[in-house]
Amino acid sequence: MNIKILGSGCSNCKKLQAVTEEAVKDAGVDATIEKVEDIKKIMAYGVMRTPALVINEKIKAFGRIPTKDEIKKYIKEV
């Protein structure tokens, strides 16, 4: 599973990364978490509000920080 955190490095992006790491650990899945800071790549996803959570190239949430339980749900859906 490939998870991407889109964000230019603001405090909310760091928070999302931390929550995601916890969720992945809790869910016990094998996933790589990648941080995307390049604005060109972020825009290519059509996202205008950061941070955004992308799982296997699908946008799951943007403009807010989902809770750990929400992220676990997204992971299970995949």
Binding site: G7, G46, R49, R64
Partner: protein, 339 residues
């Protein structure tokens, strides 16, 4: 409803003030200090001001940020971009429309760059994009609540109206100046994808709104408390009319100086308003106070540094110049209108 809330707040203020006074007297007696200051009307005025205003502001902040957050869940920037980009609103109408959407479309300053790129990329004219970019931070919901709570709804409405007018005027001027070449080139080479706009359920909207209230309160409460505390001290001990001589209408430079002082104060926007309330009581005219607040919220250094990523220095300078001039003009105008 408001009368009932007011009554509850006044009762609570009474008991809290009394409790604090008992506590301070006990400490003062313990160390053998003179506690007669606690009987003074200045002390009582300051303590009452502090408790009453603190409770009122936090109550209003919670309720109004919650409502604003629900309204905003219907206007994500991705949708605003579509609304503006479909070419229905060109010319001045586009500027007006963009400035109004700026009020209800949420984005934090760290998203200013992607929002700007998204708008320009989808063919929205530069002037219209600026109308949006200006009104969005300028009509700030926290500042709005504080103004409403401390000065009444008329001043709060006035603040929205002037914010929108500044955004429209500045956007039109930037559009007329034809400064497209002063946007960093990479912005035009950007290819933007099409994100699916998720339509949240009501449960999600309420959950997000509650989350957002907590997040904002957590971020600003120290500033609000410090601001109200400073206001309370001024309320108790600074005589009314103190500032009238220096910052009154007779001083033609007051508005100008107020705008300059406001620029570096961005992060303390929530804390400055209780102080501004006291400044107006001490003789600062309302127009000067409004200019000050607008420069605090809209002409902030951090925002300029972020916008530099997409604007070349010349356009950034034009932007700052137009904003500063319109805010100063509005300050003088309101000083003329409001007695």
């Amino acid at each position: 409803m408001f009368a009932a809330i007011d009554w509850v707040l006044k009762e609570l203020t009474y008991y809290l003030s009394y409790g604090l006074t008992v506590l301070i007297r006990w400490v003062l007696d313990l160390v053998g200090a003179n506690s007669s200051i606690l009987e003074s009307s200045q002390y009582k005025g300051a303590v009452n001001f502090f408790f009453y205003d603190t409770m009122k502001i936090f109550l209003m902040l919670s309720v109004i940020i919650f409502i604003v957050s629900i309204i905003r869940s219907f206007f994500p920037p991705e949708r605003t971009k579509k609304l503006l980009g479909e070419g229905k609103a060109r010319g001045f109408l586009g500027n007006i429309f963009a400035a109004l959407l700026g009020i209800v479309t949420p984005f934090c300053s760290c998203s200013a760059v992607p929002v700007f790129i998204g708008f320009v990329e989808s063919g929205i004219p530069l002037g219209v994009t600026f109308s949006f970019l200006i009104s969005s931070p300028m009509v700030n919901e926290v500042a709005l609540v504080m103004l409403w709570g401390l000065f009444g709804w008329q001043i709060a409405l006035l603040y929205i109206a002037t914010g929108v007018i500044v955004a429209i005027i500045a956007g039109i001027i930037i559009g007329k100046l034809k400064m497209e070449e002063y946007v960093e080139e990479y912005v035009y080479n950007m290819k933007m994808g099409e994100a699916e706009i998720e339509n949240p359920t009501w449960k999600q909207r309420f959950g997000d709104a509650r989350h957002y209230v907590a997040e904002i309160l957590k971020k600003i409460w120290p500033y609000v408390i410090i601001g109200i505390a400073i206001g309370a001290v001024m309320h108790g001990w600074a005589p009314a009319g103190l500032l009238a001589k220096y910052a009154g209408k007779e001083n033609p430079f007051a508005v100008f100086v107020a705008v300059l002082i406001g620029i570096p104060l961005y992060s303390n926007a929530a804390g400055t308003i209780p102080i501004v309330k006291e400044l107006t009581r001490l003789g600062m005219p309302m127009g000067t106070a409004l200019s000050f607040m607008m420069s605090v919220t809209a002409l902030s250094l951090p925002e300029m540094i972020i916008l530099r990523k997409v604007l070349k220095p010349k356009l950034l300078a034009v932007f700052i110049g137009i904003m500063a001039v319109t805010i100063v003009i509005i300050g003088y105008l309101f000083n003329l209108i409001i007695p």
